[in-house]
Structures are given as structure tokens and as C-alpha cells.
């Protein structure tokens, strides 16, 4: 039922317009380094996002990148989250 979407196909809708999808920002290498430094971690210790993820595709993320997600939060109003882009098998 749930089929993987065609990897090359352009999405006909803008995922970021959808209310369920928070803002995703592709971090520049130096920003990414900053994040890793802040938490004293290696990139693989962040939560993952697949490079095939519609949101990741829309921001043009490649495996190895780090995406910053600005979530609308029920508790804090707004909160930042980070995901490490990985290829999918």
C-alpha cells in the first residue's frame, strides 16, 4: 500500500506548505560543525533523516549533511531539532 515514492520524480506539492511539516533548514558545514561542537558529538549521534525523505529532498540535502528542523512545539512554542542525513537502503 505505502509505496516508496519515485526517487527522481519531482513532488507535485510543496511539503513545507503542509501544516504537519515543520521548517527544515540545510546547515552549512560550519553551522553543522557548530552544532556538533555544542553537543560534543559525532554526526552519527544525531537522529537521522533519510536523503529520500520528501522534506530532505526539497531542501536538497545529501547524505552527510545536517538539517536543522524548527518545530512548532506544544510545550515551548518553538524548538530546534537536528537530523543527520543518511542514504537509504
Amino acid at each position: 500500500m505505502v509505496k516508496k515514492q519515485d526517487k527522481e520524480k519531482e513532488l507535485s506539492y510543496d511539503v513545507f506548505k503542509h501544516e504537519l511539516v515543520p521548517k527544515h533548514i540545510l546547515l552549512k558545514p560550519e553551522e553543522a560543525k557548530d552544532v556538533l561542537g555544542r553537543f560534543h558529538i559525532k554526526p552519527f549521534q544525531l537522529p537521522y533523516i533519510k536523503s529520500s525523505d520528501p522534506a530532505a529532498r526539497t531542501v536538497g540535502a545529501k547524505p552527510g549533511d545536517i538539517i536543522k528542523v524548527i518545530r512548532r512545539s506544544a510545550t515551548a512554542g518553538e524548538s530546534d531539532f537536528y537530523r543527520y542525513v543518511v542514504e537509504d537502503f
Binding site: 533519510k50 520528501p54 515551548a76 537536528y82
Partner: protein, 1281 residues
Amino acid sequence: MALAAMEEAHKIIQSIRFTLLSPSELRKLSAVEVQAADTYDEDGVPIVSGLMDGRLGTLEPRQKCKTCGNTASACPGHFGHIELAEPVIHVSFAKLIHRLLSITCRNCGRILLSEEKIEKFKVRHADLKQRLNTVPDAFLDEIIKDAKKAQQCPHCGQKQYPIEHGKPTTFHEIVAEGGAVRLTPSTVRERLERIPDDDLILLGMDPKAARPEWAVLQVMPVPPVSVRPSITLESGIRSEDDLTHKLVDIIRINQKLREALESGVPINIIQELHELLQYHVTTYFDNEVSGLPPARHRSGRALKTLVQRLKGKEGRFRGNLSGKRVDFSARTVVSPDPNLDINEVGVPLDVASRLTIPEKATDYNLEEMKRLIANGPDTYPGSLYIVRPDGRRVRLEFVTDRKVVAEALQPGFIVERHLRDGDIVLFNRQPSLHRMSIMAHRVRVLPYKTFRLNPTVCPPYNADFDGDEMNLHVPQGEEARTEARLLMQVQDQILSPRYGGPIIGAIRDSLTAAFLLTQKSTLLNRADVSKLLAAAGFEGPMPEPAVTKPEEKWTGKQIFSIVMPKGFNFVSKSNLSAYYKCADCDKGVLHDCPYDAFIVVKDGVLEQGVIDKASIGAEKSESLFHRIVKDYGAEEARTFLNAVTKLLDRYMVLRGFTYAFDELEIPPATKEKIAKAIAKAEEKVNEYIDSYRKETLERLPGQSLEESLELYIMNELSRARDVAGEFADQYFQMDNSGVIMSRAGARGSTLNISQMTASVGQQSIRGKRILRGYRGRALSFFKPGDAGAAARGFVYNSYRDGLEPIEFFFHAMGGREGLVDTAVRTQQSGYMQRRLINALEHLRVEYDSTVRDSRGNIIQVRYGEDGVDTAKSDHGKAVNIDRLIERIRLTMKKGVAATKEYVEDEVDKANNTLSPLILNKLRQSLVNAKLPKTAVDETVLEAIENYKRALVEPGEAAGIVSAQSIGEPGTQMTLRTFHFAGVREQNVTLGLPRLIEIVDARKIPSTPNMTVYLDAKHRTSREKAQEVATLLTHATLGDIASSFESDVTRMRIDVKLNPQAMREREITVQDVRDAVKPPNTEVKVEGYHVEIKSKELEIPQFRRLASKLLVHHVKGLPAVRRALVIEEKGEWIVRTEGSSLALAFEVPGVDTSRTVSNNINETAVVLGIEAARNVVIKEALGVLEEQGLDVDVRHVMLVADMMTSSGEVLQVGRHGVSGEKASTLAKAAFEITIPTIVDAAVKGIVDTLRGVAENVIVGQQVPMGTGLIEVSMSMSRKGSK
């Protein structure tokens, strides 16, 4: 444990490495080669080189081990070995062996991939390892898949054959010439030996830990006797352990095989023996292998061999390592005692004089200790043991003259004395679903045989007194007691981490009493007031009487005010207000409520309102009691609750309270009204049935005519019961005890009262009237097809009047469903809880306030997104700004209101500390409050202060708390699968089944649906919305066909279309022409006639085509079965049954920015992982809320973040989150014990013991909370002193 042993430096296990034992290692480890298939000789002496050889360790006390020289208590036991005559396959590794054989060359042993490919994979291997720190299994599978394809070895050119794995332990090579060649274990072993180490590494194995050929056994280890002790029965007959039996079999067959090999017996006999040996070895390891009959004991019972020992609930991992039996514990029935403090537990004298606490004798307590020793074990207070500084224990029971021993006591001795008042103990009731199931209490030694507890602590334990038993544990160490006292006492657990409100509070009679006491009409005389004040522990002058003439009288409110803290202000509505629907109460405006349902407390004085469940009840957030806990702290809350329960208990005794049979009586006039109401409903039901028979009944959308009829009738009858209840309710006044109890929230509901007095009403099974039983009727007393009220389980009578036999039977049917439901539910929710706990147990809040797993991987960047601990929050909010401002307004001097700019500047100063949500609220409230500057400053300061105080502490076991918070309410959920969501036509799975579905991350939920929002053009009118709905609904050829004829002889199908059906679905003939184009056919559509002619189709193919044609897609989204148009919040939307987001987004008129699905996996694919996370949260919260369960978002968020942290949605369970855990031991203890360990051994995995389960298993301190803190000393640096 002896003191000497305790003081020995204990070592900490840092890691455990899993490997395979090589034959040479096995021989090296062995103390003896076991050759004889025997245990003892006739005299009971172990046979040398037999299975009970003395060198394998010793069991008899005072017998020395022949290997290590220790006695039984110190001898660890020593392994022996058996030299197998022929190699044998180890069952657990058979799959691995098969995989290796299929992907490596039968000649040279290399992986069947070209050198370049291997090189490529190696590069990717290294790259993945570097970037992800692990190599995903999916990558290894890719290599295997690739290598399996090879027909020929790229290295030596040898032709390859597919290998077939005959379960459980045989392998066949399917040779090209036809026929299968059996591979003997020796051949298998030889082939495995040839695989080079480098190739194994590429396959994820660690050749240093496990060479594959070691999985084919040449040598078998023989476990020490302590692993398989023989037991002597009372009759003196010795009985051997199952393992020993199995080893005997192995040795016997092994010997036969060896002899056969040496004497040159025919090959088929040798093979037979070898197979038998293989069978015995296999069943020795695992006696539940599929495809093999289990080895049996003489009695026919299947033997419990190695795998069976480890596996399952009673296995080694779950039964003996994760949970152990303990000393210093007691269990008995519990009973209530409102005279106890809430943090006390009444301990029977018998229990108190069996449990002990070790107390060190000092100069200060020497005399007392001497007295305790002199008293001995049987006189309370006494002692059971003395431990001398050298570790020697003296059991006082056996001491004849205790006086002498007592006099010999010196400081430094340890006296194990009886439990006494004030000692700290842990009290627990199973099932331990949340942390409040184990709390620390202070001991009160009491007569009789039961544990006593204050009834206010029943809710956290979920205890009642219908025979419940509870457990008591006595912490033995000073550290343990201190920790229990500081963290686990009842008063510190009043606020539940599930929702940030009190879980402890008044229940039952206390609530009735509070209600009665604080009613306006309650006036008390001097004598009663004195008694009440004394009970509450009040000391001080009597308050001024409220009434002086003709007699001094005090109001109940005055008395209640005595126990409230001074300076306490509070405004709220009572439980009562829910019954009167008082608008002012709902709005929360100060007013003089006619029902006294509005509570006003000013400076600790109850000015108006009755106190009931909403004020001091358990599990009520934002209540009077909640405010006291938050504002005055746990200790004050405890004092308050103690005083309240004692006061109310005394009031109940003074006043007296019963609910008697005659209070259920209603006058004939009311009775008649009730009978009439029911009769009228019945009439209506008959009308429905009539119109159903005449087929004039209006069909509800999406429902069959029968279903519609049932819905109409059920509706009517439930209304009838409600009306009957209302009549009864009108008759009963506030002087009726039942009404009092239900209004106070003490017990019972209006429904209970009306069932007792008016009519019991409809009995149901699976949410429907009772339909099952005989054909067309439930019982043989009715005519088949009778759909009337009586025939399908409507109970006219009330419980008071008594049920007719048939009614009684129906009632029993409904009652039985309830019982079955509860039984099923506890099982299901228990398993869900176990999975949640296991998936999240290792999550912990770190010092940087991230939530991380035991690998150090981040699960949440900030705990709960705002870093606030729910237990320290105010019903989920970090700061209760309204209350803060209110308090400051009351305490601070009045002045000129600060300007808006000033407020905003001040609030902005807190930008970096407070969360945006609080900042906004603070800004808004302060502007509205118009406080002077100083008050504004103070508010901001206090808001920051409060926020900081509400933050989680590092080390908090956030995962466990969240898992408990979601799992615990599971037990309270209904199992009722279906529920009408908004529209009565739509069924949605809710309750426990839906929650389980969510944490299971099922690919397709049982009731998938979409909420389709529409664009500006379509959302304004029903008609426009319906257009979109029609586009969404799936229509098949069958749906629009009026006739369908398939003619096999002419290979032609004729379909006549139904113009009306087509119009309804807005399908044109052209649509049909476009849609119906099955392959290899010729389709002609003329008017409403479709002609399908076969081109070169065989008859079976034609038949298949004909059968599929009716469900052939014509229009709409294949997944969407139905689409309903609903108006919601002023716009028209479409709710669909069945979900297909991606396709729905393509439909014109659909708003692609708001349309959502309840299918989590689908959302992940279409909108991404973050959207999926949001759906998990939304759906789970929705279920909990619908069930009326208060669970904080933070817990649901943590579960959702854990489920989505890998980038795809993982289930909470062995195939998802738990399967990804770092620790082998933790995984083994959860579900798939054996394969987990086998896999770890093959890969040479090192378990670094950083989680919870694994440390429990090895018996070490858990790295969470207080277990995380270590004291370390900084060594002086070079140059400094």
C-alpha cells in the same frame, strides 16, 4: 552476606565480549575429558571420567573439589569436554552456516564476488563505518544478495551450486546434473575453514571472535555439575538433571560411532549413528527445534535443555537475572486505617519481629542494643542476629543465655534488630505500572495480621481492600535508606509525573464527609467542634462561633478552614457545578453561586462553596489540594491531607452515613412516569420495525438497512433509559445518600442510581444489542426475527425491583463480556507496557539537557522541547503565570501601572531563559494585568525562578517515566474497538487497540482515514465539497453496472451500465471508456453498453478477467472506500474511509496544506519523518484524550522521537526500537534471546553495559539518577602541590 565478603573490594564489570569457543580453547578450559556415559557406581561414588567426575566441581557440603580444592560454596565448577568422533553442526548456527556456504566458493572459500566488487564493497564498508559508526544490516544483505547470484567463482573459476538447507541441520548441494548431494558436517567444516579472514570481516563477522568452522563442533563442552545438580528424592533415589540425561545420550552414541568407525562397519550404519549423534547434540542445545521431535524423559515430559533454560518468562534472563527473589521482604493482606499518617504503613507485630535492620552498636546506643539482644528474637523489640567485626554471625535464636551475649556487646558490632516505628521501608503493590507503585513509608508496628495504609494512598497503588495483598521491603544499607527517605516517601510522590497534578488525595467517605461538612446547612455545636478540632490535631483558641443565638454554632466551612494554610487564596468550581451547569461557575467569575458550587478561599478561609472531589480528590489537577502542594510544598501538603482525612473521618463518625434499601424507593407516580416513558420508546421502536418491514425506513449513509434499524432502535432505547433516569433523579433530593455520594464524587454515578431505581436499560455485546444465540433470535422465548426491545436484551426493571429471568440472562451476557474484556485488556496493556519500558529504559537526560540513549545518541535535543519535568510542572505548564500575577497583585503595594513598553522590555530580558511560549503568555498577561513597575519586575524574576525550578535534573530516567506514563493508563482504557467519531456513520478504532496500533507503527492501521480539507472554492458549500468527495471515492465497474454477463463460448463479456449509479458518482461514459482497458482485449463502449471481447485469451485467463472485471477501477482513489462530507468549524470538509495521501494531493479541490491521514507510515513517505512524528503525537494524544486520560505531551513526544530517530518509523518492539538497542544482554532479556546471543558471538560484539537492563543482569548499579553520580578525586597536576 558475610561482612568480610562485603568489605572486599568489589570489581566493576566494564564490558562483556561475546565470542565462540574454538576447539583448542575448549580443550584448554576442560578439567576432564568425559568418556564414560555414566554418573555414579553402585556405592554412589562418581565414576572417574564420567559425567559426575569430581574434577567437574563439587556439590556436597564439606567435600573438596578435585580441581580447585575449594568446598562447594567457593568452588565455581569446572568444565569438562567430550571429543566427538565426527563433527556435528551446532543448530543455532545452522542459518549462518547456510548463508556462508551459499556465498563462498566451494573450492577456494572466497566470497563469490569479483576482486573489484569486493574492493568496492570494502570501500563502502569503511565509509559507512566511518560515517555511521556501524554497518547497517541492509548493507550486509546487499553483499549477500549480490554474492548469491554467482554461478562461478570469480577467483578460481570453480562452478558453484546452490546449497539447500534442510531444517534443522542438513545441507545439500543441488548439483547441475540433477540430484542433491548431502554435505557431511566434515565437508561443511572444511569449506568453512577455507574462508579467509578478510572476507569474513566484510560480511560483518569478527574472525578473531568466531571462525565459522567453530560452529561445527569437534569438541563438546561438558558443563560443571553445579549447572546440572542431581537431586536426591525423599525415597533416597537419585534423580539426574535433564542436561545430564542428554549428555549421557551423547556420550553413548559418540562411543558407538567411534567404535563403528574404527571397526569398519558399513557406511549406512555409520551414517545412521552420525545422524543420531547429531540429533542428540541438537536437542541438547535446543529441544524445541522445528522439524525434530523433542527428546523426552521416561515419563513423556519433554526435556528442558540449554535453550529452554535461557528463554522466556521463567528462563534465566527474565526469571533469574532481570528479576530476583529477595530477602528482607514481607507480604500480606492490606486494610485501611485513616488514623495513620499518609506516609506510614501499619506493620503487623509478627512481621516486624521477623524483618530486621542492621544497626551498628556505638557508644551512644550500646545500652539499647544490649536490651534488644537480651530480648532476643521472640520478645519485641528484640533482635535476631549479631554480626561481630570479624564477620562471624551469632544467631540469637540458638543462644541459651542471651544476657551473656548482650554483655559482650561492643561498639562496632552489628545488631540485626527488629523493625520498629519510624523505620523506612518500601511498600509495593503489583502490577508495578508506574513509579508510585513502590513508595517509601514509615513503619508503625501494630497488632493483628494485615498491613495498614491510609486510604488516600490507594490511588497510586491502585489498591482496594477486597483482599489485595501488598509487599514490603526493608532497605538494609544506610545509603539505600537515605535515598528512599529523600526521594521515595509518599509526600514526595503526590504529584504524578504523568500529568503534573496530584495522584494522591481524598477518596470515598472522606469526600462524602467533606461534602456534608462544608454544606451551607451544616452547623455544629461546641462539643462536636471540639471533637473535630481535636481530631484534626488543632491547637489554639476556638474560632468565633458563626451563630450565637439561640445557641453557639459553628459552620462546617469554618471548621474546614482550620486545616487550610494561612494566606492561601483559591477560586474554583466544585464537582457539584457539573450537575447544575451554572454558567458563572464555568466561566470562573466570582459570584454567589445558588448551589454553593463555586469555591472561594481567601486567606485560608473557605468563604463559599462545598468541598468535594474537585477540590481535594485524588487524580484531580488544578484543584485546591494541587495548589497547596505546589505553593506550600510536599511537607505542608502531607500535614494538610493528614488533618483533612482525620477531621473528615471524625465528622463521618459523628454524623453517621448509610445508604439503605428504602432510599432506592420511588413513589408510584414517578414509577408510572418511568413506565410510560419506556412504553413510549417501545412504541417508537415498533414503528421503526414496521417501517423497516415496509422498507420505508431511511437508510443512514454507509449503513445497511438492518444496521440503520439497529442504530435507530439503540438510540431510542438509550434515550428511554436516560429519560427514566431523569424522572428518578428528579424525585431524589439532596438528602438521599446515593445522590450525596455521586455529587461529592465519592462513589457511584447518576447512571448507577437510575439503574438501581428506574430501569437497568439495554444490555449490549460488542456495542450492539444482543443478537447472537439461536438463528434469528437471542433466546428461544422469542420469535425469529423479532427486533423488539425485549427480544434483544432490553431490561425494563430496575435492580431494586429485580430482573425477570430472561432479563437476568441478558444481563449476565452483558456482564460476562465485561469480565472477558477486563481479562483481555490487562494482558494487552501489560505487554504494551513491557515493550514501551524496554524500548525506552535506557534513555536519560544528560547535563546539557539532551535526551540520549546508552550509546550517547541524541533522541531529543531538549527534554520535552522545553526542558521541563512534568512532575515539577503545574499540570504541564512550567510556570502558572495567571496565578503568579494574581499572587503578586495581592501581596505587592498598588501603584501606577507600568507602560506596555516597560513590560515588553522587562520580559525581553528573560529571552534566553524562558521558552517562547511562556514569554508570550507573560508579556500578554502582564500588559493586561496593569501592575506597577516593581510588581512587573518581581513577576518576571519569579517566573524565571519558577521555570528554573521546574527543569529536569540531569540523570533523570526520562524514558522509563514516559513509558510508564503511557503504559499505566493503558489498563484503564476500554477495549471497545469501534467508536463513532463525530459522525455516527464513521467507525474509527479507538482506545487500547488504537494505541497499540500506533506504537506498533503498523504499515496500515485497521481503520485508515483521511481528513481532507478543501481549497477556498470548495469549502464553502456542501455541494462543492461533495464534488471533491465523489472524485475521491473509489468506484469500480461493478458499482455502476446494472448487469454483467460473461460468455465463455464466445469469449465475450457484456456489461450494462446503470445510468443513475453513474450520475450519482459523476461518471461519464467517456470515463468508463478511458478506465476499462484490460490487456489483450477489445473494448467497445456504446451508450450504456460495454462490450469486452477477448483477443487471444485462454479460457482460464478469460475466466480470471471476468472475475476481476467487477472490481475494475473506474474512478477515484482505490484506497478510499467512502467519503463523507461534514461541516466542521464553519467549513465543509471530507472525511474518507481508507487513506491515500499521495493520490489525494493530486485531486483538484484538495487543500494540500492541511489534509492529513491517520496512517503514520504513509505520512512518513508523503510528507517526511517530521510530519510522521507529528502524526504519532497527534494520534496518540487523541486516543488518550478521548478516553479521558490525562497524559502530558512530553511523554508522547519522547515516544514519537524515539520511534522516528532512525529516519523511518520504527515500532516499539523487537523489530524496531528494541532491536536497535546497543546492549546484547538487554536485547536477549527482552524477546529474541538465542538469536541475539548467537549474532553477538559471531560478530564478536562487546557489550559495554551502559544501559539499565544489562546492568541489572550483571548485578551492578544502574547508570540513571542517583546511580549516575560518582565521587572522583582530582589528581594534582604537574607543578601544583
